[in-house]
């Protein structure tokens, strides 16, 4: 009897995960425990879409939306393929949550003049903004700014620091 309940719970859980995060391949592995506890009492048949999952995916540390930074090669402002799923996920979220706003903050490494880097950081932030718009976000939900090289996350004249500083942050 006990085994059966757990079995139903698992099916339930997998279904919930599948409907929640269609685009994330590794989503099933680290299943969040609290969701199980809430979903369990629901006396529903197997394929039921978990009725009230109140957790905002934005606050789910396992959701792709928890990635809030996009990184770049030197003197490049186009979003790289590796980061596109992150930006697309935020676009989808914004399109589904019209009350949410984001601030896009472009940053650069120190190789270039401070003014050129300010411009480059702005172009990075604007590039993310454009991709968010294409994914359904509205202009009014977004503000793009640049800090150039003025607010480095990492210090040091080396690629380890530079690679962290070439970045657009998506801030809600």
């Amino acid at each position: 009897m006990k085994k059966l309940v757990i079995g139903i719970m698992l099916v339930n859980l997998l279904a919930a995960c599948a409907s929640q995060k269609p685009k994330e391949p590794e989503a099933a592995a680290p299943a969040p425990a609290p969701v199980v506890a809430e979903a369990a009492p629901a006396p529903a048949p197997a394929p039921a879409p978990a009725p009230v999952v109140e957790v905002d995916p934005l606050n789910d540390p396992n959701n792709i939306l928890s990635s809030r930074s996009v990184y770049y090669p030197f003197d490049v402002s186009a979003v790289q393929d590796a980061d596109k799923p992150v930006v697309q996920a935020h676009a989808k979220y914004l399109s589904e949550h019209a009350a949410r706003n984001v601030r896009l903050e472009g940053n650069c490494d120190e190789r270039g003049s401070n003014e050129y880097n300010l411009a480059l950081g702005q172009r990075r932030a604007d590039g993310v903004k454009k991709m968010l718009m294409l994914g359904g976000a509205k202009t009014g939900q977004m503000e793009s700014v640049s800090y150039g090289e003025e607010k480095p996350k990492a210090s040091g004249h080396n690629e380890a620091a530079w690679s962290q500083n070439r970045r657009t942050d998506i801030k809600y």
Partner: protein
């Protein structure tokens, strides 16, 4: 101390610490001019305390230029031409001799009567009364040093000019204006957000700069006399890179309000915004030619950041820099015949100059983290941001590359320097 300084000055290559009590910047000098003029500066007669203060300023100014060496005046103190025994100064090796008197007037003003004498020709080269308000002994010294410099080199002195820079300590930023030797510091703006790109109005009365105090780059113009300021450009996105037209009636700024970073003209009161570049790429760091007709600027329209020139009124935009590496931050020389800029190649920043006519680039520095060069008003010195002992410093190099200075702030990094009028 003075003796040690004099000893180290003699010799073709030297490193000199000019000790400067209470200065916000401490200065090191490396190298020397090809021809150093041997000059003796006799402490003035009259008010001894003032005389020594002025003497100290004059001697340090001339030494910092790298173009003079000091002849010991020990044991001699002529204050009037009649008291000068030329053969004795000739024997000491002096080519020129500065003498004079200083006194405080009834109204509190400092008045120095100064003469510069040609030791070889036994003739007066210059004579002038220099006066300044109470407490301005340094200003008197700078004026006298300027006169000596001008008479002996043929170029205007820049010891009385001022500089602006940003002092960063951790997350704290301070926009500072100071005399060119670091004294008389005045804090223009102090805050926990970045400050960038200070730019002097041609008459030295105002600074335009970029502040992030509202969490994005906004351009302000501030009076250095009243400290009143106003927002010049605060459109969405980034507003930056202010540059004054030589007539002071217009500025070029970079805005992203219509998309990418493009150059616009704007009046000092914030009206009359007019876009003048349309590349759709990054166009930034505009700088007016001395005649106000052209702009130099940085653009990546050709695929990498390079320097371009265009007529302010619109017209053909011409690429100025080619070859290996990338180039940034152009500024016209005061005579308008060339420009100074930052050259980045193989991971190192250099300060370089280029002549409009020949198109030849000449690198002036050894390279490192060297950024944002600007000419002194006489075109003979270039100030730029550099790095030493893991700190941001201000550095200068003579336009022939021979004499270099490094200026350290008391703490934190010095950034974003610009030489003012």
């Amino acid at each position: 101390m003075l003796l040690r300084v004099i000893q180290s000055v003699i010799g073709s290559l030297f490193l000199l610490h000019v000790s400067m009590a209470n200065a916000e910047l401490s200065i090191e000098i490396i190298g020397a001019g090809e021809h150093q003029v041997p000059v003796a500066i006799v402490p003035f007669g009259g008010d001894d305390k003032l005389a020594l203060a002025i003497n100290d300023v004059v001697v340090n100014d001339l030494l910092r230029s790298g173009l003079f060496r000091m002849i010991d005046a020990e044991g001699k103190s002529p204050h009037e031409p009649a008291e000068v025994s030329y053969p004795e100064w000739l024997a000491r090796g002096a080519e020129a001799l500065a003498i004079g008197t200083v006194a405080v007037q009834a109204n509190g003003r400092i008045e120095a009567r100064f003469r510069l004498l040609d030791v070889v020709k036994q003739a007066e080269l210059a004579g002038q009364v220099v006066s300044a308000s109470d407490g301005q002994a340094r200003a008197v010294g700078h004026r006298i040093a300027d006169l000596i410099y001008e008479k002996m080199t043929g170029d205007k002195g820049v010891f009385s000019t001022r500089i602006a820079y940003v002092n960063r300590r951790g997350q704290h930023f301070r926009l500072v204006v100071a005399d060119s030797d670091g004294y008389n510091e005045q804090t223009v703006l102090s805050q926990n957000q970045p400050i960038m790109s200070p730019s002097w109005s041609p008459d030295g009365s105002h600074l335009a700069y970029v502040s992030f105090e509202t969490d994005h780059a906004v351009v302000y113009v501030q009076s250095l006399y009243t400290n009143q300021r106003k927002m010049l450009a605060g459109f969405s996105g980034s507003n930056s890179a202010p540059a004054w037209a030589p007539n002071g009636k217009q500025l070029a700024v970079v805005l992203t309000r219509d998309g990418s970073s493009q150059i616009y003209l704007i009046r000092p009161d914030g009206t009359g915004v007019q876009r003048i570049t349309f590349s759709g790429e990054i166009d930034t760091e505009p700088n007016f030619s001395p005649d106000g007709q052209y702009l130099l600027f940085t653009s990546d329209r050709g695929g990498s950041p390079q320097i371009y020139r265009m007529p302010v009124k619109g017209g053909v935009e011409q690429r100025m820099t080619f070859g290996e590496g990338t180039n940034f931050s152009p500024r016209h020389s005061p005579d308008g015949k060339g420009f100074v800029f930052t050259h980045l190649v193989s991971g190192k920043f250099y300060i370089a100059v280029q002549d409009f006519q020949t198109g030849q680039m000449e690198i002036l520095t050894e390279g490192g983290w060297e950024k944002r060069p600007s000419f002194a008003p006489n075109g003979k010195l270039i100030m730029f941001a550099s790095e030493a002992r893991e700190r941001g410093i201000l550095a200068t190099v003579s336009s022939d590359g021979r004499v270099k200075q490094r200026m350290f702030t008391q703490s934190g990094d010095a950034r974003e320097p610009v030489w003012g009028p």
